[in-house]
Symmetry: C2
Subunit: 198 residues, 2 copies
DNA sequence: GCCTGTAGACCGACGCGTCGGTCTGTTCGC
DNA sequence: GCGAACAGACCGACGCGTCGGTCTACAGGC
């Protein structure tokens, strides 16, 4: 009699959402399963019904977030012509998403790093996944002759790091992210030798 | 009769050293005070005699490491003439230090980020400290006319992030750091519009 | 020289809160 | 009435920090 509904918004969803909030707020180690349960307004039983452990939710959450961002980036890229334009579009999407969903960004960029050696692999995997995406397009830009031949693997990593840091600091300072977009874009493009435009 | 010596190497030193090892190996949350005590071959009592908490040692350790790196960078910078040469020297020092003391680098770059919101401030502080150092020299390079006028605050942050990421990935992959130095330096210099060199 | 008294470095067993995870229900759709 | 989806009381390990105690060094009275 007490409980009702929760069929249209499955319990699992509520749990994931709550997990996102709680992890974003308190960090992985700071968050307790009880916190997540309380925030989701479900129960410990429900939690362990859908997830095998705290680590399990976190990893699934991470994966979901990565997929969302990747999908957004791919969509933005698809709508542009020319390798450099694609790169710029991707950059804009990432900054927009980070700007609108700070908590999400916190989890992906900071919390994912905050797990100690045990999780190191999945964190590196995430970064590599994004780096690979960037590298792919940089390689195409090289092939198209838009930019000179260079070490695109290092370049892609450097970009990830630069974006990460600028976003993180800007989030922490409460500054406007889009404000940082322009100088950052200019820097990144210059860094691969595509500064002045054709 | 059992205990001996340890007069030339004070207990506190042993504890800090042990803390460095343990934190580097298991991460902040993975490390226990008992681990540190065991590794230092002292005692729980000694630990709490010198430090007020686990967090306390960690913060002191961080500070010590930051000072070491800063000192090394400043020294390298002092020996160079010209703003750009200074920047290059600083970059080389950072990569060298990271290369030689991977565990140290792990703590500063990875573990310091792995602490959750409570420690966020000190982590951001560390990055800001390095960023400020870089920005100072970039500003001088601008003043000298070596590079064009630009947003050096964003540039400094982007550099920190780029270096951080490249080093971290290289450390994780077991790759040679100095190998990444050349392309990274080229990128960073290009990014501020100082590509060709005089 | 020796003994007593004191300070403070150091020891390590244990208390106690915390938190992941389990287990016994209870409800509800079929 | 059976099983899946939940509820929530409970368990047990783990780890931080404490706290009563020891041991060494040294000062000072005799």
């Amino acid at each position: 009699m007490p409980r009702r509904a929760t069929l249209d918004t499955p319990t699992r969803d509520r749990l994931i959402r709550a997990a996102m909030d709680v992890f974003a707020q308190r960090g992985y180690h700071g968050a307790t399963v009880d916190d997540i349960v309380a925030a989701s307004d479900t129960s410990k039983g429900a939690f362990y019904h859908y997830f095998s452990s705290k680590q399990d939710v976190f990893l699934r959450l991470l994966d979901q977030l990565v997929q969302m961002v990747e999908a957004g980036v791919e969509a933005a890229i698809g709508g542009e012509e020319g390798a450099l334009a694609k790169v710029e579009a991707a950059l804009r999407v990432v900054l927009e998403v980070a700007s609108e969903h700070r908590d999400l960004a916190r989890i992906l960029l900071i919390e994912a790093a905050a797990l100690g050696p045990e999780f190191e692999q999945s964190r590196l995997g995430i970064h590599r996944r994004f780096a690979a995406l960037i590298q792919r397009h940089l390689d195409r830009a090289v092939a198209d002759g838009a930019i000179a031949h260079q070490d695109t693997r290092i370049a892609a990593r450097a970009w990830i790091g630069a974006i990460n840091e600028v976003v993180t600091q800007q989030l922490a300072n409460g500054g406007d992210l889009m404000e940082a977009l322009s100088p950052l874009r200019a820097m990144l493009l210059r860094s691969i030798g595509a500064g002045g435009t054709p």
